[in-house]
């Protein structure tokens, strides 16, 4: 048995996927440069009731229905909708063919049931949750299943092929126009009337194409399916007719995307491990960002908050014309905390807090400090926090030499200082924005140099440790004729 899944008016469905309320409004899809410009190719039910037909030009359609909304095709959204169809259908049978736009054929060889209504309706509901409205036909061959899908509301299974096919119009088989004209001249309008003619006689008069059409009309044709496999990533694309300049509508659409993504993943028992967000601006620029979800989840609120914090700090120079979001799926992870384990209670909440902190102090100012492998002063980088994995066990660290002296508090940047020295060059008095006064004791100079082979990277200077009379221990740096206060001991 085979199942054909049809998304009627696929291109229009794809265009309206993120505006489901528009399905009840008169909307027409314009495509192709016809002799009078683009013509109407697909319409909603409300537009059809207003007598708007395929093939109308835009002005003809608007003359029939002044409230008509005209839309253009959105290829990226169509590709995303086709992927949704593939991935959703894949959960019901791995033998899948992507027959045409909005049209999938499944080989049901693995399914043992004879009545396919139950699972087909589940599939219809899953697609409806993704704002795709499907019809499913089940029959003994792909061609017959396709004809059944066209008549399905929303499901039709063909048990007796002959009685189903007999009243169908010949046009359902989309015959060659020349053949259709000849058969029309003979008074043949339905498949039943055509198959009533002897097959050999049809072959004698119409040739091999006539025989092939006769076989299809009799429901005898079968063919091998061209297997397709859905991609492993799950994504959504939204293209905006008008560029978005404010955050609210963007967040609204983003939430819908996330709801649909998580729903698709939940249908196949997966959750989101990472997200990739891409915003296309009107000026051609693309803003892209990856988000790792520390504790993979299918919770829309959690995912939305993670993205929301990013948007709070986002500034785009031009309106956003398209949004693309892709999810890397993973299996749900179960946690069994150890009795003495100091794991984070809520990794996703922590990631959210980090995003908020980054919004307060800056992206590069929150994290775990990591020392660079150099003796250059103040050489470190702030790495992304990784508290999900256990910390280095103290026992695994080699014994280290003891440390001497108090800790240094560094001034970033170093403060320019006015320093008075004696004849030997030893500092006597210091004046800076943070400390001033006579120097009670001074130790130095401690000379430092590094990267001497690179002229610009040399940091040849001398340092002094000083104790001020009013109190305080400081480190002074001297290079050329300039002095800096680079830190205080504490």
């Amino acid at each position: 048995m085979f199942a054909a899944i049809l998304l009627p008016s696929f291109h229009l469905q794809a265009a309206l996927r993120f505006e489901p309320e528009q399905h009840r409004q008169p909307v027409a899809l314009l495509a192709g440069p016809g002799p009078n410009g683009a013509i109407v190719t697909e319409t909603t039910q409300a537009a059809r009731l207003a007598d708007v037909r395929s093939g109308f030009t835009a002005s003809q359609a608007l003359a029939r229905c002044p409230r008509l909304q005209l839309r253009r095709r959105l290829p990226r959204q169509e590709r995303a909708a086709a992927e949704v169809l593939r991935q959703t259908a894949w959960a019901f049978s791995p033998w899948l063919e992507e027959t045409a736009d909005g049209w999938c054929t499944l080989d049901l060889r693995g399914r043992r049931e004879t009545d396919h209504r139950a699972w087909a309706l589940v599939l219809v509901h899953r697609l409806a949750a993704q704002q795709l409205f499907a019809r499913i036909g089940v029959a003994e061959n792909p061609g017959l299943a396709r004809l059944a899908a066209r008549r399905a509301r929303p499901f039709l299974q063909i048990i007796e092929a002959a009685s189903f096919l007999a009243p169908l119009p010949l046009a359902d088989l989309e015959p060659d126009p020349a053949l259709e004209m000849i058969l029309g001249g003979w008074g043949v309008r339905t498949l039943g009337a055509f198959t009533a003619l002897p097959r050999e006689a049809v072959g004698d008069r119409l040739g091999p194409s006539g025989v092939a059409l006769w076989d299809r009309a009799a429901g005898r044709t079968t063919r091998a399916l061209d297997w397709a496999r859905p991609v492993e990533t799950y994504g959504e694309v939204v293209e905006f007719e008008q560029g978005l300049e404010t955050l609210e509508p963007l967040l609204f659409v983003l939430r819908r995307c996330l709801e649909q993504l998580t729903q698709r993943l939940s249908d196949v028992w997966l959750v989101v491990a990472a997200l990739r967000l891409e915003l296309r601006c009107d000026d051609g620029r693309v803003l892209a960002r990856k988000f790792t979800i520390p504790d993979p989840t299918g919770d829309v609120d959690v995912l939305f908050r993670v993205l929301h914090h990013y948007f709070e700090t986002l500034r785009a120079d031009a309106p956003v014309v398209a949004l693309e979001i892709a999810a890397r799926p993973s299996k749900p992870v179960g946690h069994q905390f150890g009795l003495f384990q100091a794991a984070l209670k809520d990794p996703n909440g922590f990631a959210e807090t980090l995003a908020r902190l980054a919004a307060v102090v800056g992206d590069d100012r929150v994290g775990t400090p990591q020392l660079e492998r150099t003796h250059r002063p103040d050489a470190f980088r702030v790495a992304r926090v990784d508290f999900a994995s256990p910390p280095t066990a103290p026992g695994a660290v080699a014994e280290q030499p003891p440390r001497y002296g108090p800790a240094l508090r560094r001034y970033r940047p170093a403060l320019a200082a006015l320093v008075r020295c004696d004849v030997a060059g030893q500092p006597l008095h210091v004046e800076t924005a943070e400390a001033r006064g006579g120097i009670r004791f001074a130790l130095g100079p401690w000379r430092g140099s590094g990267d001497w082979w690179e002229e610009r990277r040399a940091w040849d200077d001398e340092e002094w440790d000083v104790e001020l009379e009013p109190g305080g221990l400081f480190r002074l740096s001297h290079r050329g004729s300039h002095w800096w206060l680079i830190g205080g001991y504490d």
Partner: protein, 221 residues
């Protein structure tokens, strides 16, 4: 029993009946890794409280203390956050491996630091938050309303976290305990071993709620 004290007892009974959640069992404590400091605070940093460590002038050893607490946190395989009010931490002064236990928030001013502390306390994932305002200008610190400290204390209490605040003088109105660093370091201390410096820090407990001010204690003792 005087009439006044009986009224107080009645009032306490009434409050206990009306707000049973207000009477919590004794909060667990978070060990700092410094036995003398833990002893001074009655076992360690009490969860759900703010503890203030103040200094009268620079070079009192507050940063040494902070780094030792970080090392202690790492030794216990836990994590802590440092909200650095003026971005003054020198990571090179810490042992490389202990930095893996640290979330460092590098703030530009006290307002940012308070906001960051608020977020971390509300988050509740890290048991110890250190807020370093020791180098922030007095003008910035005066601009922090007293109610902010009570708000932070309430959040810490709700989430069972300990918050250690380093200040240049008495500042935190809602502090459960306030300690003063008394003895300034000298140039000679640059040659002293780090552990000896920590042990020699001169801390005085000047305020502790429900307790009298304790004695002046050197950490070595």
């Amino acid at each position: 029993m005087t009439a006044r004290s009986s009224k107080i007892i009645e009032l306490r009974t009434l409050l206990a009946e009306k707000y049973p959640s207000g009477l919590r069992p004794a909060a667990a404590v978070l060990e700092t890794g410094l036995p003398a400091l833990d002893a001074l605070l009655g076992g360690g940093l009490r969860r759900g409280t703010l503890v203030e460590i103040a200094r009268r002038q620079p070079a009192m050893g507050a940063t040494c203390l902070l780094q030792s607490i970080l090392a202690g946190t790492w030794t216990r395989e836990q994590r802590m956050a440092l909200v650095d009010g003026r971005d003054r931490l020198d990571p090179a002064g810490c042992r490389r491996e202990t930095l893996t236990a640290l979330l460092w928030v590098r703030c530009a001013n006290a307002a940012q630091a308070i906001r960051a502390t608020d977020l971390l306390l509300r988050d509740g994932n890290l048991p110890l938050i250190a807020l370093d305002l020791a180098d922030n200008p007095a003008k910035e610190l005066r601009a922090i309303p007293a109610t902010t400290w009570f708000r932070l204390q309430r959040i810490a209490e709700e989430n069972g976290l300990a918050c250690l605040v380093f200040t240049p003088g008495p500042l935190v109105a809602s502090a459960h305990a306030r300690l003063f660093l008394r003895h300034p370091l000298t140039l000679a201390s640059l040659d002293a071993p780090n552990h000896a410096l920590i042990a020699g820090l001169d801390l005085e407990l000047v305020r502790q709620r429900r307790d009298d001010a304790g004695p002046r204690v050197a950490l070595a003792g």
